[in-house]
């Protein structure tokens, strides 16, 4: 049986761990609030963009000369999976669940005989994908040095993606990220961004007839690349909020587990101490009786 000193050491070490997880939980909670606000602030822009583009696209696709970003390259042989994950661990299943979704999609596509390549944003996803698909990853964007995500970061990623499209590196691009529903629920999501998919407008003929300046084609040519950046930006913000939400609940669990462990260890410690006292008493008494 472990000595009393060993038990004391173990309890002290669990307590120290608990303090760390508790602190991490509180830091994550504070950051979560900020990330959540950022994600919510970005929503109106992305939604407006979607509506306007949806309206424009509906008109253009009918005319039969849609730009590449809406109509696609006409093939679906080469797929690019843009996998956005966190930069750090200790956040429960956050990174793993995004990677799992991407991996399932990749397996399905490979099974269909398509070419699959990965574009990783975030080191954790890269580390996990590297194990299964070491030679399919073409790019890694590391956002570790970025303190607050700005639109510029997303624009830079979008520019890389568009350059790849120009080179003919892929036909279809799918974005993987985690959608922030609430602190306890983050949903890994796959969203096809190239060619863009717009939700059907339910207003139909009832919508206002817009005048365009300059012409519709020119506006679309300018807005579509920008839309890619907007979608990526939104995904990154959602991801960040999800990351902190996930980290917060993971650290909350860890703190609670540490508490349970301390309770259990303290019980064992007290029991052992009591047993030793009883043993010593018995020894003294039986020694006295032998006299």
């Amino acid at each position: 049986m472990a000595s009393l000193k060993d038990l004391r050491n173990r309890i002290a070490s669990v307590k120290a761990t608990q303090k760390i997880t508790k602190a991490m939980q509180m830091v994550a909670a504070a950051k979560l609030r900020r990330a959540q606000m950022a994600a919510e602030a970005a929503r109106p822009y992305a939604e407006r963009m979607d509506t306007v583009l949806g309206n424009l696209a509906a008109g253009i696709v009918g005319a039969g000369q849609a730009p590449v970003l809406i109509a696609g390259t006409g093939q679906s042989q080469k797929h690019l999976l843009l996998v956005a994950t966190g930069e750090r661990g200790l956040c429960g299943a956050f990174n793993t669940s995004i990677v799992r979704l991407a991996r399932e999609k990749a397996q399905q596509l490979i099974g269909e005989g398509k070419d699959v390549t990965f574009f990783c944003v975030g080191r954790k996803g890269y580390d996990q994908l590297r194990r299964t698909y070491p030679d399919r990853i073409i790019e890694l964007v590391d956002l570790r040095s970025v303190r607050t995500l700005s639109f510029k970061d997303a624009s830079a990623i979008a520019a890389k993606i568009l350059a790849l499209l120009d080179q003919g590196a892929f036909d279809v691009c799918t974005l993987f990220y985690s959608n922030f529903k609430s602190v306890i629920s983050q949903i890994p999501t796959a969203q096809q961004i190239i060619p863009a998919v717009f939700e059907a407008q339910d207003e139909g003929e009832g919508g206002p007839v817009y005048e365009y300046e300059p012409a519709e084609e020119e506006i679309l040519a300018d807005l579509l690349p920008r839309n890619i950046a907007v979608q990526i930006f939104r995904a990154l913000l959602e991801n960040q909020a999800s990351f902190y939400g996930s980290q917060m609940s993971a650290m909350d669990n860890a703190t609670r587990n540490a508490g349970d462990m301390i309770k259990k260890q303290t019980l064992i410690y007290n029991r052992t101490r009591q047993a030793m006292i009883t043993k010593e008493l018995i020894e003294i008494i039986s020694g006295a009786e032998a006299l």
């Binding site: 109106p44 407006r48 306007v52 817009y210 005048e211 300046e213 920008r226």
Partner: protein, 139 residues
């Protein structure tokens, strides 16, 4: 005077939201003013200064990249960058002008070069306007 609901949105946040009487927007094909009851309209923006007229003094914002949408519900401007003119740092603007110059040089196609050159000219115009405004005792 009739008011017009107006929202100025950047990817990072909602910059301005409220009822105003008139907004002067730097459109890609010239500045235009929007009053209440404007016909539905979608127009591109050029980098420039957007002026909001409502109660009190007119307010000026620097906007760059994006578009304006007018519909019966009001005017919405989605700009890649939008901030009050007072917060605009001339140094940052100067940096953007340098970037734009590089874009002009790096452009691979004629069309791209033309677009970059237009962008550069617009930025320089804003810069000149701001500088004269500041040295002349603010605006």
């Amino acid at each position: 005077m009739a008011t017009l609901p107006f929202e100025l949105v950047s990817p990072e946040r909602l910059v301005f939201s409220g009822a105003v009487t008139e907004v002067i927007v730097p459109g890609a094909e010239g500045e235009f003013g929007v009053l209440a009851g404007h016909a539905p309209f979608i127009g591109m923006l050029k980098p420039g200064i957007l002026t909001i007229k409502g109660d009190g003094a007119p307010r000026a914002y620097f906007v760059r990249g994006g578009f304006a949408e007018v519909n019966p519900a009001g005017l919405t401007i989605l700009a890649e960058e939008a901030k009050p003119l007072e917060e605009l740092d001339l140094g940052v603007l100067h940096q953007q002008i340098q970037d734009a110059k590089e874009d002009v040089n790096d452009a691979a196609t004629d069309e791209g070069r033309q677009r970059a050159a237009r962008q550069l000219a617009d930025l320089e115009q804003v810069y000149a306007a701001l500088e004269s405004g500041r040295t002349g005792g603010g605006h």
